[in-house]
């Protein structure tokens, strides 16, 4: 099967630290691929390397058939990759409307349809339309960040820890929205919250100390207590 994204043995440094020492992933179109691992395993750096924000020094990243490592982040984004960072990356002095309009690369029918879809999915954003990003709650910021990434015709969304710092009820809402988005696009999800990840994920890659140490289906991980204990620190 043709992969939408293929990461081949990437090596990434932050300053003098060798963070990714051989990360490989394959992402199939139309599925949710979850990257799991303990704190400091290299999950966020993997997403940042794919986006070109912390470029990989070695290895290969293929988006469709095209090599994208070494390209500038804005060029990578224009190729159809949306990014929802761990800190949501909301522009606090811009309103919800401005945050969304800023991210819209086109203003065609498709974009308008996707905008209507996300506003339907996150009605809170419609209510807070003229409110500044800095005045939103944590959950609203997360919704806005996801909406901003989805509103373009992106073939792939990279979502980093969407449940982080959110109340359980909001996490549930975010999870439901990811399940809705999954019907329309491909998602790579970094998540510490295994319960949430297991509810939405199809494929799993586990990172440990900058290496890919496991690849498989979510159903296998759910039933493999040793794996969860060893790499995810989940007490059974």
């Amino acid at each position: 099967m043709t992969m939408l994204l293929k990461v081949e043995n990437i090596q990434t440094y932050i300053g003098q630290f060798h963070i990714l020492q051989g990360v490989s992933l394959e992402v199939q179109p139309g599925r949710v691929t979850v990257i799991l691992g303990r704190n400091g395993a290299g999950k966020t750096t993997t997403l940042r390397s794919i986006m070109g924000l912390t470029p990989a020094q070695q290895g290969k990243i293929l988006f469709g058939e095209e090599e994208i490592q070494g390209l500038a982040p804005h060029v990578i984004a224009q190729k159809g990759i949306g990014y929802v960072p761990e800190d949501q990356g909301i522009f606090r002095d811009l309103t919800v409307e401005e945050n969304i309009r800023l991210s819209m690369r086109r203003n065609d029918e498709g974009t308008q349809e996707r905008l209507a879809f996300v506003l339907e999915l996150f009605p809170d954003l419609k209510i807070a339309w003229k409110r500044k990003g800095g005045n939103l709650s944590g959950g609203q910021k997360q919704m806005l960040s996801i909406a901003r990434a989805f509103v373009n015709d992106n073939r792939l969304l990279l979502i980093d820890e969407p449940s982080k710092g959110l109340a359980p009820i909001v996490v549930e809402k975010v999870m439901e929205s990811i399940l809705e988005l999954k019907k329309r696009t491909t998602i790579v999800l970094v998540e510490q919250n295994f319960l949430m990840a297991s509810g939405v994920g199809d494929d799993v890659f586990i990172l440990d100390d900058g290496h890919t140490v496991y690849r498989g289906g979510m159903s296998d991980v759910k039933t493999d207590d040793d794996l969860k204990r060893k790499y995810l620190g989940i007490a059974i």
Partner: protein, 286 residues
């Protein structure tokens, strides 16, 4: 017109001039994190080019246009060939822009000589107008109008256009702007060039206001601009306007009553703002 009102109007006019140099510096620092010590040199280059073209053609407006274009070109070339490799190196930026300032000012001295040059007002803006039964120079009122116009245009650009949205977002988080598919570096280049053009335009406008120009004026105005952006908040055009007004008014009043401490009072005001509100009056915490 009372003396106080006269000083106040003069202070506002000086504030309008300082705003022209400070607003570009503020956006360049806020968006790109570049502390441009050569900004004042661009200001004075604008003044000299404007003076030369005004002298050669007899048209002040052509002089203003030429000075502004000179600033745009210097700013564009400076960003493209010197600043760009130093974006993440702040010490390098300071040394580089200080060096560029010296080179630009020495080049001016080489071309025009180190002496003070007289800069006349354009005929259409010479003379006085009656404000509350007292005369007030038309040129100073014109400066207030120009400052207001530039503030309104900047405000419109920043709050009503997509480019403005990109600049405001870029001041907060340039990395995220890139991740949305926007070439923020290109925007950086244009903001740098536009900021330089505004400073150069301010240089041309300052000439007739002071009646003369000399190469060292650049450094003096740069210092005022630094004070203004610290007071108003880095990267905020309304803050730059308010800071410029405060500095202009303070400098005019102190210059009249206690001239020896005029500059010291502005520096003290900056220190006070830094203690009470380090991000400036309109600045956001970083």
């Amino acid at each position: 017109m009372s003396l106080t009102l006269n000083l106040l109007l003069n202070g506002v006019a000086l504030g309008a001039l300082i705003f022209l140099i400070a607003v570009g510096l503020s956006l360049i620092f806020g968006l790109m994190g570049v502390m441009n010590f050569a900004h004042g040199a661009i200001f004075i280059w604008g003044a000299y080019v404007g003076w030369a073209v005004f002298g050669a053609t007899g048209s002040f407006w052509l002089g203003a246009l030429a000075g502004t274009v000179a600033g745009l070109i210097i700013g564009f070339l400076m960003e493209r060939f010197f600043i760009r490799p130093f974006y993440s190196n702040h010490i390098g930026q300071i040394l580089l822009t200080l060096g560029l300032m010296i080179v630009l000012i020495e080049a001016l001295k080489l071309l025009f000589g180190p002496n003070i040059l007289g800069f006349d007002k354009p005929e259409s803006l010479t003379g006085v107008i009656t404000v509350l039964d007292d005369p007030f120079p038309i040129y100073r009122l014109f400066l207030i109008g120009i400052g207001l116009l530039v503030l309104l245009c900047t405000h419109y650009l920043l709050t009503r256009t997509k480019t403005g949205m990109i600049i405001r977002a870029g001041v907060q988080d340039p990395e995220m702007v890139q991740a949305l598919g926007i070439n923020v570096r290109r925007v950086f280049s244009w903001v740098f060039a536009a900021g330089a053009a505004l400073a150069a335009f301010g240089g041309v406008m300052s000439g007739p206001s002071f009646g003369s120009i000399h190469p060292e004026l650049g450094m003096l105005n740069q210092l005022n601009a630094f004070i203004v952006i610290v007071i108003g908040g880095i990267g905020n055009h309304v803050g730059a306007a308010l800071g410029a007004l405060l500095v202009g008014i303070m400098q005019t009043f102190m210059g009249y009553y206690v001239p020896d401490v005029a500059l010291a009072v502005n520096v003290a005001l900056m220190a006070l703002v830094l203690i009470v509100r380090p991000q400036g009056i309109f600045g956001a915490r970083r």
